[in-house]
Amino acid sequence: MSKYFDLTRRNFLKSSAAVGALVLGTCFAGAAPRMMAGVLTKPSESSKEANLFVALRPDGIVEITCHRSEMGQQIRTAIAQIVADEMEASWDKVVVIQAKGDLKYGDQNTDGSRSIRYNMQRLREMGASVRHMMRQAAATRWNVSLDECSAEQHIVTHSSGKTLTYAELVSDALNITPPETDKIPLKKRSEWRYINTAMAHIDLKDIVTGKATFAADVLEPNAHIAMIIRPPVVGGKVKSFDAKAAKAIDGVIDVIEIPAPKGAPVFQPKGGIAIVAKNTWAAMKGRRALSITWDDGKNGDYNSEAFKASLLATVATPQKSVREIGDAVNTLAKANDKLVADYYAPHLAQAPMEPPCATAMYYKDRVDVWAATQNPQADMETVGSMVGMAKEKINVHVTLLGGGFGRKSKPDFSAEAAYISMKTGHAIRVQWTREDDIQHAFYHAVSAQHIEASFDKNGAIDAYLHRTAFSPLASTFIQDTTRPLSAELRLGFTDNPINTPNMKLENGAAPAKTRVGWMRSVSNVFHAFAIQSFIAEAAHKAGRDQKDYLLETIGPDRIVDVTEEKADYDNYGGDKAVYPLDISRLRHVIEKAAEMSGWGRKLPKGRGLGIAAHRSFLTYVATVVEVEVSNSGDLKIIKSWASIDAGTVVNTDTVKNQVQGGSIYGLTAAISEGITFDKGRVQQSNFHDYRVPRMSDCPLEIEVEVVQSDAAPAGVGEPPTPVYAPALCNAIFAACGKRIRQLPIGDQLRT
C-alpha cells in the first residue's frame, strides 16, 4: 500500500516529530479554539495530544495537516495557503498531510461550505506562531531584540543583514514557548502573499498524470472486491436468496448477507447480499448470477406521481407558520388581483463522478478503513456500531474524493466494507457501481411550493404567502418524522429577503418514503427556484424589467434579522453580528452580474436573459443566464455570468472554478429527469436515464466576478448552485414566453 500510506499521519509522526521537528497544534477549549501553549517535542498518539497542524522538520520541510476532505474544492491547497502565508514559508517546502478521522481536530464534516469559515482564524494563528518562534529563536541565537528580526520565505534576517534559515532554527525553537493566541501578530491583508491569490492547487500535477489516489486507487493487493445487491425499497429486506450460481463463477469467493438496518436510516448500510470475489469483474459476474427475493416493507407503495399530487395538495391549504410579518392572509383575501403559482421539483441523486468506495481491514481490536468520505468521524461512528467496536478503534484514512456533493457525508459504504471484512477475515474493498449509486443514494428532497402575492398600486408586492412541503432530511435521523428541522427550513425559506409589509411562510408535513440526504446547497435549491422564479413572474405581471424589479423587491440596503419575527433561524451557525443578512451585498452581486452580462442589451429573436440572486451559506451570489430557444423548442445556453460575495476568499481561482462548476451542478436540477419511484423502486439506473449536464448542455463560457471583500469568510462550494435553475428558467421565459414552474424542463418547451 505504499502509494497510499504516504498520506497517513503515522508516517507524519515518524518522519517528523520523532526526529526533533517543531510541531504545533491547537486544542479545543470548549467551542472557541485556542492556541496550545506548549511545543510538542514528543507527540504521542494518545487522545490528549494536541491537534497537529504544522510541523517544521529539521530539513526545513513544512508539513501541514489538512483535516478536511478534498473533493475538488481545493481545501488541501487553501489550508496550506493560509498556514504557509502566516508562517512565511516558502511554497516549495510545503507538504500537505491528509488527517485521519480524529475527534481531536474538532469538526471534520466537510459539508455545509464551512471549512474556511471554521478554520481560517486558527490556521492563521498557527502559522503566525511558527513565524514568531522562528524570529524569537534567531533573536536569542544572535542575542538581539526580537524587533530587529524579520522573517520572510523561510529565512529570518537581522537588521544587520545576517540570516538564518528556518531549518537552522528548528532545534532552537523547540525550547521556545509558543506565544498566546492574542499576542501573535497576524499579517495585514496587504502583506498576504498566498491568501487571496489564484495559485495552482497542490494536487494538480498528480491529477493530470493519473497519480492522484482516490478510494478505489488505494493499493491493497490482498483486498478482495465486494459488490452488494441492496434491497430496492428503503426499509425492505432479503426474504430469500440463492447463491449457487454465483458461487460457481470463477473468482467468486463468498456470498455474505448484510443485516437489514434498524430504526431511522442514519448512515446504516441498507443490508442486502454481498458477492466477495478475487477481482472486480468476477464480482460483477457473480452479482448478475445471484437471485434474491425481497420483502419490500412499508415503502413498497412509493410512487412519485402520487406523491407529487399529495405534496401539491398539502401546499394548497394553510400549514404551520414558520415566519410572519404583518397580515398576509387577510391582505391576500381582500386583494382582487393576485399572482398565484405552484412549483415542483423532483428528487435528485448527487451522482458524484466517483461512485462510493471504501476498503476496510478488520482486526480483533481495530478496523482500518480507507474511504472517499466527507466526514471521517461519521465513518468512525458508523463502522464502530456496525462491527460492535468503540469508534476510537476505527482508523479512518481519507483518500481524495472524486466529488462528494453530500453523498459521501453518509458513510454506509465504509460500514459495508468493515462488516464484510469482519465476516471474511480479509481486507475488503466495496465498490459501488453507478447503478448502486443512482438507486441507493440519500436523495435530494422532492418538493412542492405554493406562492401567492398581491400588489400595491405600483406593482410592488404588498402581501406574500409561501408554503413549502418536502420530504424532510430529518427523517433520515428521526424515524418517520414528517417535519423538517428549522435547519432545513432556514435554507432559503425562513430567510426570505423580500421586503414587504405582509409576509407569511408556512411549512406542511410530508413523509419521506426513501432516504433523504444533503445534496449541494440542500433545500436552498428548490426554495431559490421558487422564490426567484416568482419574483420574475411578478415583474412580468407588473410590466417591469426583471432585474429592476428584483432590486426593488429585496428593498433598500439594510440588515434583515428574521429572528425579530420570532422565526427559528440560526444563520448557518454564524454570528449574526459577523454574518448579517445584508441586503446591500445582495444588491451588489445583482448589479454586478447584470452589468457583466450587458443587461438590457438588444437580443435577437429567440434569445433571452434571466437573472436570479440568493444568499446561502452566508454568501451572496447572482447569476445571469443567456439562452436561445428555437421554434421547435430546442434550448441552448449561450453564456452565463455570476458575481459572488463570499467575504474574504483564500484562492480566487478556486472560487471561480467552484462558481462555474456549481452553476453546472445547478443545471442538473433543470435538465435532469430527476429520480422517480414506482413500487418503492428508483426507476433510473445509470447516466443513460439519469441525465446530468454534458459539455453540449453547458455554456462554454461562465464568467465569474469574485467580489473583493474584507468581510469574514463565508461558504463557496454550495452557494453558486441554487441560483442557476431559476436564472435559466427566467431566461427561457424572456426568450420564448414559456414559464417553467415544474422541474425538470423536459419537453415543456416543445408544447
Binding site: G72, Q73, V208, L219, L401, S663, N686, V692
Partner: protein
C-alpha cells in the same frame, strides 16, 4: 493467451477473455489512471487509447485488444509533458480530478486526428465525457490551447511516447 502492447510494453493475459480492459488495468496491473464511472460507456472516465484512438475501456473486452496497442494516461507522457496535460495545468482545469484522465485521453485522441478542431467539434467529441464538477468551460479552453501547441509541433503518436508507469 491474449497478447498486446500496453504503454509501449508487450503484455500477455490468460484470464477470462470477456474481462473489460478497465478491470484488467486496474486490478491486474495496478494502472489506476483510468477510472470507473459508469461501466456502460456513458461517462468516459475509463477512456484509454486503442491504437491511438479513444475507447471506453469499461466496455472493451480484453479479447478485442489482441495484437493492438493500448495507452493509458500513465503512458500518455513520461511526466505530464503532453500538450493536453500542460494545457490542463495552465487552465487549472481539474476540480476533484476524477474524470480528468478520461477527459485528457479523449482530448488527446481528438487532437491527434484533428489538430485544429472547431468549437463545435470539441463539444461533439467531448460530450461523451461527464464531469460532475462541471469543468467543461475550462476543458474547452484547455483543448483550444493544446490545439495551438500541437498544431505547431505536429501530431502526437501514442506508441512513440511514454513508459509504463
Amino acid at each position: 493467451m491474449i497478447t498486446f502492447t500496453l504503454n509501449g510494453k508487450i503484455r500477455e493475459f490468460a484470464g477470462d477473455p470477456t474481462t473489460p480492459v478497465l478491470w484488467y488495468l486496474r486490478d491486474e496491473v495496478q494502472l489506476t489512471g483510468p477510472k470507473f464511472g459508469c461501466g456502460m460507456g456513458q461517462c468516459g472516465a475509463c477512456t484509454i487509447h486503442l491504437n491511438g484512438v479513444a475507447q471506453r475501456s469499461c466496455i472493451l473486452p480484453i479479447a478485442a485488444i489482441s495484437g493492438s496497442k493500448i495507452t493509458t494516461i500513465e503512458g500518455l507522457s513520461d511526466d505530464g509533458e503532453h500538450a493536453v496535460q500542460q494545457a490542463w495545468i495552465e487552465h487549472k482545469v481539474p476540480q476533484c480530478g476524477f474524470c480528468q484522465c478520461g477527459q485528457m485521453m479523449q482530448a488527446a485522441s481528438l487532437l491527434a486526428s484533428n489538430p485544429t478542431p472547431s468549437d463545435d467539434e470539441i463539444v461533439q467529441s467531448m460530450s461523451g465525457n461527464i464531469c460532475r464538477c462541471g469543468t467543461y468551460p475550462r476543458i474547452h479552453k484547455a483543448i483550444k490551447s493544446a490545439s495551438k501547441v500541437m498544431a505547431s509541433v505536429g501530431y502526437y503518436v501514442p506508441e512513440k511516447t511514454g513508459e509504463e508507469a
